[in-house]
């Protein structure tokens, strides 16, 4: 019998709420000697971790259910929340199941956190994963391949055996599958947002942070199938693209509030790691070269990545609005997030030129008060709905 949406989402929710990462522990316990490597948003080449026989684990902050004490001790009030809760996870031993942590190049906060992690967790593997902002294969590409090679060598050492090209190619194929499933999920939601509400889609995506990719791919496919069987009422909601939440994630309550106030989210940038590379990475040829090419030429656009030309700014966002048939854009950025908040005016400028309506607000992963958010999102939806015909 096919699984029900309720069961699938229930499982995802349990994984999401488990701040002790039992799923990771279980995976490790199943075969002695297995290792798990954590990574922070936005993007790391998980293929390399996977090819080393390890489980890549997405560490996306602590959400709104965790009390943060130690983490707050290290950060001033004007710094976003995700590094605090991540530190809290580490300092309270919740990340002991990880054998290493990867800190992608996304902003100064995460960058500095990589050094703090080196000091606080001396016996763990810690690496800052730099990515190029120069998109020439011979310049940025070479640098990036070298960065990936270092990671590959390090993980090989950690695993006790080198990471082979074949293993890498196999992992690329696995992640191609996963990416396709996730893209299908996004396409399905955009088509029938009432059948696959974002509060569920989000949980399904988050499950991919702790599950092995093969298992996650199946879960995503199961969810799509199960959602199709549901009979859910279609509401008179406005279709929006949500952007700005690529790093610190909003609380689930916020996502629900946006939907409750009359919006269907048809595209978003949660858990971007899964959709960072835009299409298939060839699973033949030199794997690091292919990964590098995909990054340089066919990857997502987001605030921490340089846009070479002025004309490129906002291209993908506008494309997403058109592609998914959205009626407006909601900018939802974490408070004190320099990349997202500095990017915002530029994107708004682009949207205004295209006459795409937008609204904007800030949140923190532990925002408790939803009234102002409902009000802004609701007003936005109202204005789209009341005037769409006019």
């Amino acid at each position: 019998m096919a699984e029900m949406v309720k069961d699938i989402v229930g499982r995802c929710e349990a994984l999401f709420e488990d701040l002790h990462f039992d799923a990771v522990k279980q995976w490790k316990a199943a075969v002695p000697g297995r290792k798990a490597i954590g990574y922070m948003p936005v993007y790391v080449p998980r293929e390399i971790v996977h090819a080393a026989g390890m489980l890549p684990v997405g560490i996306f902050g602590g959400g709104d259910q965790m009390e943060v004490i130690q983490g707050d001790a290290y950060y001033q009030s004007y710094i976003c929340r995700i590094p605090r809760s991540t530190l809290e996870l580490g300092l309270t031993g919740r990340l002991d199941c990880l054998d290493g942590m990867l800190f992608p190049s996304i902003c100064d906060v995460i960058r500095n956190l990589s050094g703090m992690w080196q000091i606080l967790f001396k016996d763990k593997y810690v690496r800052y994963v730099d990515v190029p902002q120069n998109y020439l294969d011979s310049v940025g590409g070479e640098f990036y391949i070298h960065e990936m090679q270092v990671l590959r060598d390090d993980l090989g050492k950690l695993a006790g055996k080198p990471v082979t090209d074949d293993a890498l190619r196999a992992s690329i194929a696995v992640y191609n599958e996963n990416r396709r499933a996730v893209q299908d999920l996004y396409a399905y939601r955009a088509q029938k947002p009432w059948q696959a509400p974002t509060s569920e889609v989000y949980l399904v995506i988050r499950a991919g942070m702790v599950l092995p990719p093969e298992e996650h791919t199946k879960l995503v496919r199961d969810y799509i199938a199960a959602a199709e069987l549901e009979n859910r009422p279609k509401r008179d909601n406005a279709r929006v693209v949500l952007t700005g939440s690529f790093c610190e994630q909003p609380p689930l309550g916020l996502i629900k509030s946006i939907e409750m106030s009359g919006c269907y989210v048809v595209d978003d940038d949660f858990g971007l790691v899964m959709r960072w590379l835009l299409d298939e990475v060839p699973a033949t040829g030199d794997p690091l070269l292919e990964l590098s090419k995909a990054f340089l030429h066919r990857s997502n656009q987001q605030a921490s990545k340089y846009d070479e030309k002025k004309e490129d700014k906002g291209k993908l966002l506008v494309h997403s609005v058109k592609f998914y048939g959205a009626e407006g854009v909601i900018f939802a950025a974490p408070s004190f997030c320099d990349p997202a908040l500095l990017e915002r005016p530029m994107l708004q400028d682009v949207l205004a030129k295209q006459k795409i309506p937008y609204t904007a607000f800030k949140y923190a992963e532990n925002t408790g008060q939803m009234a102002p958010i409902r009000e802004q999102a609701g007003t936005f939806a109202d204005s789209i709905k009341l005037w769409s015909a006019a």
Binding site: R127, N134, V139, M346
Partner: protein, 445 residues
């Protein structure tokens, strides 16, 4: 990056101003800075192109090879901060859609543009012909120039400096930067300026740089004396100005540092303390190491809080944002591009956390400081995110007390004098109390 300042605050104070004391070198510096603003303002009428770039890891020598006039937006912002103009600029930028949460240097700059590009000296600054986006040590730089590009459609060229994530500069990082210089930066500079690249010209500038760098290091290290003849934070801001900005590599800068070093040598011989805006400091009661940029909008008041208590800053990390010369780096005319790459990669905020902590601990020891003071800047995640760990580690490793205050670079709303004074006073009284107990314990034996 929180950038060096280039001029004595010319703020008319309300009381009939007590004679502001300055060293000769400070006057010299002031002239240089004003001249540069004038040159910048008239660049276009004189047929010169203008290039804007950031302070940390700036390629001044290289840019000079193409006859560009150099504009440093961070310096403009801080100059506007000192002249109390930044508050309005920031508000203007916020009204234009910028968030309250983000770096105020960016907003001060954007605000200045909205207000007609009137620079700190009152002259209208030209729109840059080229944005040289070398974003060493801070991601905000990238957004900054993207924002400027969005408004002015300027030609932009990126120089990506990888971060010293594991505390060292690898060959791959060096190659990457050199390659970018060769394949994108230099060709763009050539194209925009119409001047052909001449590597010998570059070598010549770098020779000048290296000489001046030697003198600067001597000046900064003079603070190891007791009493220290300089203030290594507030005073250093004036000393690093030319070096970190549009002057490095020019003969004027070399001459400036020569004059400066001689002045400081004389002060050391005479066992004199540093000159503060309130006059010469006669009694050195506390020696501190400071981490983090200063506040510009209340620079003098801030300095006074230290001077009034007899506190001298003997070393600061901020005096290294434009190059950590005291750890040995010099521009090297024999390997010009490699040395530029090395320079970019080695800037203070491009160092990782363990390195930054090591450096501070070393300063505390070598400069015989009583403790560490962190001025945490709301704007600057690059500096500030993680400073509290720094504080704890330094305390642990040196056994010296550390204190923490908060302000902002150029946003006057975030400078709360009462709050900062309260903390500083408590900190100094604590050091004093500890000392007297230690003294009593010694006496008792």
């Amino acid at each position: 990056m929180s950038t060096p300042i280039q001029m004595m605050p010319s703020q008319p104070s309300k009381k009939p101003a007590p004679k502001v004391q300055k060293e000769d070198a400070m006057w010299l510096q002031k002239e240089m800075i004003n001249a540069n603003y004038h040159e910048l303002a008239t660049a276009h009428e004189r047929g010169k192109k203008v290039s804007a770039t950031f302070v940390p890891g700036n390629l001044n020598e290289l840019v000079m090879c193409f006859d560009f006039a150099r504009s440093l937006p961070e310096t403009n912002a801080l100059q506007n901060g000192m002249r109390k103009k930044s508050g309005k600029m920031i508000m203007d930028a916020e009204r234009d859609g910028q968030s309250e949460d983000v770096c105020t240097y960016v907003k001060a700059d954007l605000g200045m543009m909205l207000g007609g590009e009137i620079g700190p000296t009152g002259e209208k600054l030209p729109t840059p012909d080229l944005l040289l986006l070398s974003y060493t040590g801070c991601f905000t730089f990238m957004k900054w120039f993207e924002l400027v590009r969005q408004k002015y459609n300027c030609e932009t060229v990126m120089l990506h400096t990888p971060y010293q994530g594991d505390g060292k500069i690898s060959q791959s990082m060096r190659d990457y930067v050199v390659k970018q210089l060769k394949e994108s930066v230099i060709p763009t500079l050539e194209r925009v300026s119409g001047v052909k690249f001449d590597i010998d010209r570059l070598r010549q500038y770098m020779k000048e740089s290296a000489r001046a760098e030697d003198d600067l290091v001597k000046v900064l290290q003079s603070a190891k004396n007791r009493p220290s003849p300089i203030d290594g934070y507030f005073g250093a801001v004036y000393y690093i100005g030319p070096m970190f900005t549009a002057f490095r590599g020019t003969p004027e800068a070399t001459q400036y540092y020569d004059v400066l070093r001689k002045e400081i040598d004389a002060r050391v011989r005479d066992k004199k303390g540093p000159i503060t805006p309130e006059g010469e400091l006669t009694e050195e009661k506390y020696r501190l190491v400071v981490e983090g940029p200063p506040n510009w909008t209340s620079f003098r008041d801030f300095w006074k809080m230290f001077a009034d208590e007899g506190a001298v800053v003997v070393a600061s990390t901020y005096a290294k944002v434009g190059g950590v010369y005291d750890l040995g780096f010099r521009h090297d005319p024999d390997h010009p591009l490699e040395s530029l790459a090395e320079y970019c990669l080695g800037c203070y905020t491009n160092m990782n956390f363990p390195q930054r902590i090591d450096m501070i601990c070393r300063y505390i020891e070598e400069y015989e400081a009583d403790g560490l003071l962190i001025n945490s800047i709301k704007s600057c995640n690059s500096f500030s995110a993680g400073q509290l760990l720094m504080l704890r580690e330094v305390e642990k490793r040196t056994g010296k007390p550390a204190a923490f205050i908060e302000s902002d670079l150029v946003d006057p709303r975030y400078f709360s004098a009462a709050n900062i004074k309260n903390r500083l006073e408590s900190y100094f009284q604590m050091i004093k109390q500890k000392r007297s107990v230690a003294g009593a314990a010694v006496a008792a034996h």
